[in-house]
C-alpha cells in the first residue's frame, strides 16, 4: 500500500512540484500516473523511494512512514521496491547478467542461488539469450527489459516505473506493458508514470492525473 497524505514538495529553487496531493494505492493495484512533462510525476515516484523528501505531508509505504525513516533505514525501504528509472541507470561496464545481479549482490546472496534468480528474471522479460551481452549492444526495448529484470529480480511487492515506454515504438511499448501486467496478475503493486496516450486510453486501469502539481479528480 502507498499513501500520500497532503504532500507538498517544494524544491530549493522555490518550484512547487507537488501541491497538497493526497491518494492511496492499495496493494495489488496497477495504477497509471498521467500528466504532461513537469506535472510532478517523477517527483511523486521519487518521494515514494525516499530519493526526495516531502516539504509537507506524510508518505506511507507498506505501513512505514517514509518521512520518519532514519537515513540508515532508507536502503531497506528501497529494497522492498522495484524501481525502473526514466534514465534507466544501466551500468555499461558489465554485462546484462551482472547488471541484473546487482540487487542480489547488495543483499549478500550466495552466487549460486543468485544466478538462478537472475536467469529467472531474465527469462520473464525475454532476455535470457542475451545474458552475456553488454548493454551497449542492446536495442532500446531490450534495455528497458533489462531495467525491468533488475527491478524484479529480488521479488519486490511494489514495482515503480517512470516512463517505461517512452521512446519505444508501439509494438515494443505494448510488450513492455504485457510484462507489467503479468506482475500485476501475481499480486505485485505496480505504479507506472506515463504520458503515453495509447496506454492511457486503455480504461482497464485506475489513472491518477497530475496537472501542475495538483491531483485532478
Amino acid at each position: 500500500m502507498i499513501s500520500f497524505v497532503n504532500v507538498t514538495k517544494r524544491y530549493p529553487d522555490g518550484f512547487e512540484a507537488l501541491k497538497n496531493v493526497a491518494f492511496t494505492i492499495h496493494s495489488g493495484e496497477l495504477v497509471l500516473v498521467a500528466g504532461h512533462s513537469g506535472a510532478g510525476k517523477s517527483t511523486m515516484l521519487k518521494l515514494i523511494a525516499a530519493i526526495e523528501r516531502p516539504t509537507y505531508g506524510n508518505i506511507l509505504v507498506s505501513d512505514q512512514n517514509v518521512n520518519a525513516l532514519k537515513k540508515s533505514m532508507i536502503p531497506f525501504l528501497r529494497r522492498s521496491l522495484g524501481l525502473i528509472f526514466q534514465d534507466q541507470k544501466i551500468l555499461y561496464d558489465r554485462n546484462v547478467f551482472a547488471n541484473v545481479m546487482l540487487p542480489l549482490q547488495i543483499r549478500g546472496f550466495q552466487n549460486k542461488t543468485a544466478a538462478g534468480r537472475v536467469r529467472a528474471a531474465l527469462d520473464k522479460v525475454g532476455l535470457l539469450r542475451k545474458e552475456n551481452a553488454y548493454p551497449i549492444t542492446l536495442s532500446g526495448g531490450e534495455k528497458q527489459r533489462l531495467c525491468i529484470a533488475r527491478a524484479v529480480v529480488h521479488r519486490p511487492s511494489i514495482l515503480i516505473a517512470d516512463e517505461p515506454t517512452a521512446n519505444l515504438d508501439v509494438d515494443y511499448a505494448q510488450s513492455i506493458m504485457e510484462v507489467f501486467r503479468s506482475f500485476h496478475q501475481v499480486g505485485v503493486t505496480v505504479v507506472i508514470a506515463t504520458h503515453d496516450t495509447a496506454l492511457l486510453n486503455d480504461n482497464r486501469y485506475r489513472i491518477l492525473t497530475l496537472n501542475q502539481g495538483k491531483l485532478v479528480v
Partner: protein, 302 residues
C-alpha cells in the same frame, strides 16, 4: 553470519579485482609506499643491530681502579679485601704494575717507548666486572671507591657503550617521528587513490544506492582496498630492507673474517614484521575510511 561472511568475501574479491584491473597504478602506489616505509624501517633495523651490541656491553659495566703510585703491598691487600665485601661486583682481577708494563711492552708499536722508560710509570690496578646495574648506581659505586685513601683514579671502561646506547635511544625517537610522518604519507596516498576510485565509480555507487545498498556495503570494498594497499606497501618496504641487509651481510662476512669475529646484521624480527604489516594495513584502512566518508556523501542519487 553466513551472509555477513559472504559479503566480506565478495568485498575482498572486488577489492582484489580493482587492484589487478589497474596493475600499473596499483604497483606504483605500492612501490611509493614501500620506499617511504623502507626509510624508517631501515634505520630501525640498523639501530636494532647496533643496540644489540652496545646494550650488551653497557649493561655489564666494567671499572678500572688505579691505585696511587706509592701504594704499598698492604694497601693493595686492603683494597682487595674491601672489594671482596663490596656489593654489585661480579668479579675482579688484580693487575700489578709489573704485569701492566709487560703488557705494554708486548704491544708492538709501543715496544720501543716502554723499553726506554727509566722506571715503571704505571700504577697497580684492579679491573672490576660489575653485575647488571642502572647507570645511577654505577656512578655511586664509582664515587664511593674513589674516596678510598689508596685510590688515585676510577675509570668506567664501558662509558662509550653507555653513550652509544643513549645515542641509539635518541635515534629511536627520530625513527618514531619519521614513522609517524611517513605513516601520515601512507594515509594520504591511500586517501587519494580511494578518492579517484570513488569518483570513477560514481555511476555504480549511485545505482546501487538507488536499489538499496547500505553505506557499509558501498564502503567495504574500498576499505579492503586501502588495507591491502597499505599492507602490500609495507611488504615492499620490508623486502627492500631485507635485500639491503642481505647485500651488506655478504660484504660483512669478509670484513668479519679479517677481524676474526662473527658479525652480521639481523633481519627484522618476526614479531616486528608482523606488527609492521598489521599496522600498515590499519593505516591504509584509515586512509580509505576518511576518503570514502568524504566523497561518498557527495554522491546522492537524483
Amino acid at each position: 553470519m553466513k551472509i555477513w561472511l559472504s559479503q566480506h568475501w565478495q568485498a575482498l574479491n572486488r577489492a582484489l579485482k580493482q587492484l589487478t584491473n589497474t596493475p600499473l597504478s596499483s604497483l606504483l602506489s605500492i612501490i611509493v609506499i614501500g620506499i617511504a616505509f623502507s626509510l624508517p624501517l631501515g634505520i630501525y633495523t640498523m639501530l636494532g643491530n647496533l643496540q644489540a651490541i652496545s646494550s650488551d656491553t653497557a649493561s655489564t659495566p666494567q671499572l678500572s681502579v688505579f691505585l696511587k703510585l706509592k701504594a704499598s703491598q698492604a694497601d693493595i691487600e686492603n683494597v682487595n679485601s674491601q672489594l671482596e665485601e663490596f656489593p654489585y661486583i661480579a668479579s675482579f682481577q688484580f693487575i700489578s704494575k709489573e704485569i701492566a708494563l709487560q703488557q705494554l711492552q708486548q704491544e708492538s708499536n709501543l715496544n720501543e717507548v716502554a723499553n726506554n722508560l727509566p722506571k715503571n710509570p704505571l700504577p697497580d690496578a684492579f679491573i672490576i666486572n660489575l653485575q647488571q646495574i642502572l647507570p645511577d648506581e654505577l656512578e655511586n659505586i664509582r664515587a664511593v671507591i674513589k674516596k678510598w685513601p689508596e685510590i688515585e683514579h676510577v675509570q668506567v671502561d664501558t662509558d662509550w657503550a653507555r653513550r652509544v646506547d643513549a645515542l641509539l635511544r635518541l635515534g629511536q625517537l627520530a625513527v618514531l617521528m619519521l614513522a609517524v610522518v611517513l605513516g601520515l604519507a601512507l594515509i594520504i596516498v591511500v586517501f587519494n587513490t580511494i578518492r579517484l576510485q570513488v569518483l570513477t565509480k560514481r555511476d555504480e555507487i549511485e545505482v546501487i544506492k538507488l536499489i538499496g545498498a547500505t553505506d557499509s556495503f558501498i564502503r567495504r570494498p574500498f576499505l579492503y582496498f586501502g588495507a591491502i594497499q597499505g599492507m602490500a606497501g609495507a611488504a615492499a618496504g620490508w623486502l627492500l630492507i631485507a635485500l639491503g641487509i642481505q647485500a651488506i651481510n655478504e660484504s660483512l662476512v669478509e670484513l668479519a673474517q679479517l677481524y676474526e669475529t662473527d658479525f652480521h646484521l639481523n633481519y627484522l624480527s618476526f614479531y616486528d614484521s608482523l606488527s609492521l604489516l598489521i599496522f600498515s594495513a590499519l593505516l591504509g584502512w584509515l586512509g580509505a575510511r576518511l576518503s570514502v566518508a568524504q566523497y561518498l556523501s557527495q554522491i546522492e542519487p537524483e
